[in-house]
Symmetry: C2
Subunit: 438 residues, 2 copies
Amino acid sequence: MSELAMLALHEQIEEEGGYVIATYYLETGRGADIVKKISAIAVEQTTGTWVPVPEETPEMREKHVAKVVGIYEVPGHEFEVPGNLEARQFIFQLAYPAVNFGPQIPMLLSTVIGNISMSGKLKLLDLKFPKSFLKSFKGPKFGTQGIRELLGIPERPLLNNMIKPCTGYTPEVGARLFSQAIRGGVDIVKDDELIADPPFCPMVERVKLYMAEARRYYEETGNKVLYTVNITDRADKVKENAKRALDAGANALMINYLTAGITALQSLAEDPEINVPILAHLDFAGTMYESPYSGLSSYLILGKLARLAGADIVVYPSPFGKFPFLRERYLQIGHHLLGKWLHFKPTFPMPGGGVMPAVVPAIIRDLGKDCILGAGGAIHGHPMGPVAGGKAMRQAIDAALQGIPIREAAEQHPELKSAIEAWGLMEDEEQALFEIKQ
Amino acid sequence: MSELAMLALHEQIEEEGGYVIATYYLETGRGADIVKKISAIAVEQTTGTWVPVPEETPEMREKHVAKVVGIYEVPGHEFEVPGNLEARQFIFQLAYPAVNFGPQIPMLLSTVIGNISMSGKLKLLDLKFPKSFLKSFKGPKFGTQGIRELLGIPERPLLNNMIKPCTGYTPEVGARLFSQAIRGGVDIVKDDELIADPPFCPMVERVKLYMAEARRYYEETGNKVLYTVNITDRADKVKENAKRALDAGANALMINYLTAGITALQSLAEDPEINVPILAHLDFAGTMYESPYSGLSSYLILGKLARLAGADIVVYPSPFGKFPFLRERYLQIGHHLLGKWLHFKPTFPMPGGGVMPAVVPAIIRDLGKDCILGAGGAIHGHPMGPVAGGKAMRQAIDAALQGIPIREAAEQHPELKSAIEAWGLMEDEEQALFEIKQ
C-alpha cells in the first residue's frame, strides 16, 4: 500500500464529532489504483499536494488530513472485473476534520468540492455534518410554523403566485396583477427571478404599491398575504436592498441565492434586523447539479445547504412541470427540508415550474400539507383571468384535502373546470388522492 | 411558425448596444422542433412562461423579450438528417435586453443561465456584452502593470508560491515556509485555498508574521514581495476580513471567489478603501464547467466574469499538471485575461496545479511574459528544500527567456538539476523554446 493510502485510510475515526463526511461518485479507467487515487484526493483536499512536503508531519496529518471512510464499487465486483468494462464506478466517503474550514459555507465547499471539482468524473452527492459544526448556523428564522403564524393559516397547503410576465412591466401593472392574484386566494406573491430592481420597475415602488394592495385586501377580507420582493444584487448590496425594501413596507424577501451567493442568503437570515421570511430561488442550480458525473447533487444545493443558510422557503423543480427533474430528487429535497434536523426549523418546500391545478393532489400526496404550491402561468394565464386562476388552484387544494377528484370538483367550480379544460388532468390523480387519504 | 417563434426570431436587432448576446450549446432529440424550442427559451428567460399571460403585450415583448440571433446545427445537415441520428446538436445565440437585469452579475446569470440551467443538455458557452453594460464595471484595480509596479519587476514572468502543506500548520511554521519561499526568489506568496482563518492558524497572525518576513527580506535585498492572504468567508464577512488583514499589514488579498460568491470579489475590487491587488482562486469552478453538456464554460467562469468582477490575478488550471484541462481552454482563458477589453486592465493569468520547472518554457511560450507561474509542491517539496525549489523555478524562467533548454541550464544550476532529476522534463520543451524565440 502506498504511503498516501496509509495515511488516509482509517477504519475507525477518532473524534467522530469533528468530521464532515462527504460522499462522492467517481468514475475511473479500468486500470486505476482506486485506493491510491482516493487517498490522493483525501490528502490533496486537506494537507498535501502532488509531492511530499517537509512540514506535512505525521502529527499534522493525523489531525488535519481527510480520512477515507469507505470505497464501494458499483456494482461490487468480487471475483473478476468483466473483460469488456472500460470504466469502473465507485461511491466513496471522506471524513474532513471540521477544524480545517470552520463553520462557514465557502471554506466548506472549497474543501469538499473545491479543486477536486476539476478532476473529471467526480460528483459530490452528500454531506453529513457534526453537531459541533451545525450549532454555529441558525437556519431558517421563521420556517413553516413561523410563516403559518404570519399568515394565520394553521394547516392548509399554501398557495404562492409568481407574477407573470416575468419582467418588462411597470409597478402599476404589477400591482394590478398582484391584486388579482390575492383576490383569487393566493397567500404569498413572489416576484419572478428575472425581475429585481430595473429602471422600468423599481423595487421600492413595487413594494409600496403591492403592500398597499395587500393592506386594502386585508381590510376588506381579514386575509393576510406575504409579498416576497426580489432583492438579488451583488453581495455587498443585498442587505442594503433588504433594508430599503423593509423601509418601504416589505413583509418578506426573495433572493436568487445561487447567483447572489449562498452566503448572501445566510447573511440575511442571520441578521437580527431582518425580521421577515426569506424565499430562496433555485435559478442557476442546474449549472452545478445537472451533470450526473460532476458538480454536486441537487439534494445539497437545493436542500441541505439552503436550509443551513436559513431559507424559509425554497423554490425547486416540480417533476410534473416544465423542467426535467426526477421525482426521487424532488421527494428527497422536499423531505429533507421538512424533516427533523437538530435546532433548524423546517423550510417550506415550494415546487414550481409549470404547477397547475391538475398536479395539486400529487404534490400534496408527496409533501404533505406543509408545502407551498408555486403557480405562475396557471394563475396569470388562466383562460378566465388571474382571479379565476387563483381560485382554481385553491379549489384544487380543497378538493385534494377532501379526497375529491379534480374532475369531480370541477363540476362545482367553473374556474377549476376551465383550468382542466385548458391544461388537462394528471394520469395518476386517483392514486394520489388514495394515498392522501391513507 | 408558432407564435412564440415569431416573437422571438429577429434577423436584425434594433438598439444593438443594449443587448447581451449569449451563445449556447444544445442537444435535442431527433424529432424536436428546434425553432420552437429555442424561441420558448428566449421567452421563458425574459417575459413569458409556459402559457400566454395577459400583460405580456406585443410592445412589452418587443422591448424585453430575448431575441433569437442564430441557430446553427452541428454539423449543418442540409438534405437529410442521417437515419441513425438519435440526438441533434446545436449552437444558438440569444440577445437579451440588458435593461432587464442591469449592470450586475447575479441578475445577469439568473437571466442567461438561471432556470434554463435545469433544462437538460444545454450549456452556456459565451457572453458578449454591450459597452453600456460594461461601463458600470470597474474591472481590476491593479492589473498586470499595477502589480509589476508594486513589485518593481517590469518585464519578467512572475513567480508565485502556494504555501504547502495546504492547511494544518501554525503561523510560525507558515512564516518559516514563507521566508524560505521568498529567499528562493518567489515574488508572490499565496495561501492555499484550503486555509482561511482557522483557530490553529489565525489569519491576522499569519499576516503579521509573514509581512515581518517580507520586510526583513526587503531590508536585506531590496526585493519586494506580495502576500495574498486568503480572506474567504461568508459574503458579509469578506470585507471585514479584508479590513482586518489590511490593518495587520497585508499588501494583497486572496479570495475563493466561486464559493464566497463572484460578487464578493467584485465588492472588494470596487471598494476604494481596499488598495491592494486581489487574487481570485478557481476552486469550485469545475462544479459549473466540468460537464460538456450543462453549466457554463470555464472561459466565462475563470476568464470573462473574473476579469469583469475585478480579479488582478486569476489562478486557473495548467494543462501540464495535476488537473485534466484542455490546452485550448487554458489558452483561451489566458489570452482573454491579457487581451484588450475596453477600460479593463489586463488580469494576470496564473496557471497552477502541478507547475514545476519543466513546464516553464511551455507556459511562457503560451502566455508570454505577462504570466505568473504558480508553484506549490515544486517549491516546498523540492528535494533540496524550499529555497532551492524557488531558485529552480527562477532558473527555469531565466533559461526559458534566454532560449536555453532546461537540461542545459541545469548543468549550471544544482537546484534546477535536482528538480528535473526528481520530476523529469517535458517532451516538447525544444519546441516551446523555439516558439519563444520567434
